[in-house]
Symmetry: C2
Amino acid sequence: VDRPVSGAALTKDEARITVRNVPDQPGTSFGIFSSLAAKNVAVDMIVQNVGAGGTADISFTVPEGDLKRAVAAVESAVAELGGGDVSHDSNVAKVSIVGLGMATQSGVADRMFRALAEESINITAITTSDIKVSVLVERPRMTDALRAVHREFELDRPPHERSTF
Amino acid sequence: VDRPVSGAALTKDEARITVRNVPDQPGTSFGIFSSLAAKNVAVDMIVQNVGAGGTADISFTVPEGDLKRAVAAVESAVAELGGGDVSHDSNVAKVSIVGLGMATQSGVADRMFRALAEESINITAITTSDIKVSVLVERPRMTDALRAVHREFELDRPPHERSTF
Ligand SMILES: C[C@@H](O)[C@H](N)C(=O)O
Ligand SMILES: C[C@@H](O)[C@H](N)C(=O)O
């Protein structure tokens, strides 16, 4: 499998919610995401980095049409959990690269990051699985971001015509 | 597809590196991850949450045997990028749930979070894709974490015997 990346995707009708300074203890994530499930809000990307000082920050994306309902659900969940600050941003787009070959090759994510850096596109969040790397960028840059990734991974060419490294 | 989760996995020979307060600007992620690719360090999970005040934090996991080399690479990358604090922790394990059905069902991640909360297992980082949710937990809790997830999603039963909701 020469091609670590077989495709790229753009998700644009999402909004991001960030919950900062919530208690970094068992039950916090459950409290937040069960409040969303209870309101039938579909959550796409979830990102939590390691906390500090007893608190942590969690971000996630929801369909833009659900934003108001999601923010309300999370604000009351956070109040019940002991505190935290809820903010949101609709001016986002998610750009992903996907590929089965990615799981066994290093240097794939950094190629995506280079492609975006070369276009001066800021990466505002990152989440990965073994076959996928997703980043959030500002929505005005989404088309440039997708194009940069297509170019980097030669996705506009049929697979047999792409370079091998 | 009744079963949103078809399996769970534990990854335990990994260590986490966190880079805090790096410039939240194009080129930072590329600078960090290209320094690792240059040293042939395989990176597994990457997590970046939304930054604040012009800086952001990025965490990632590497094979435990590569930790020393990875930390050295990242420390010099960070110095070149303008600053940041590098820390690391080997006392981690990654627990994941996987399932094709997850992409179209809400409430799957929160069931995983509930299962861990009920065992008082703290979630130290979260990353997701449409078919996978991965969390970092403290290594001493990894077996409890895997068992809790197995129970929650009835993974010890053959698929046709599992509850439908
Ligand atoms: C921050 C949040 O993930 C918390 N650590 C929990 O376990 O729920
Ligand atoms: C923090 C880091 O992701 C930075 N925003 C970048 O684009 O590289």
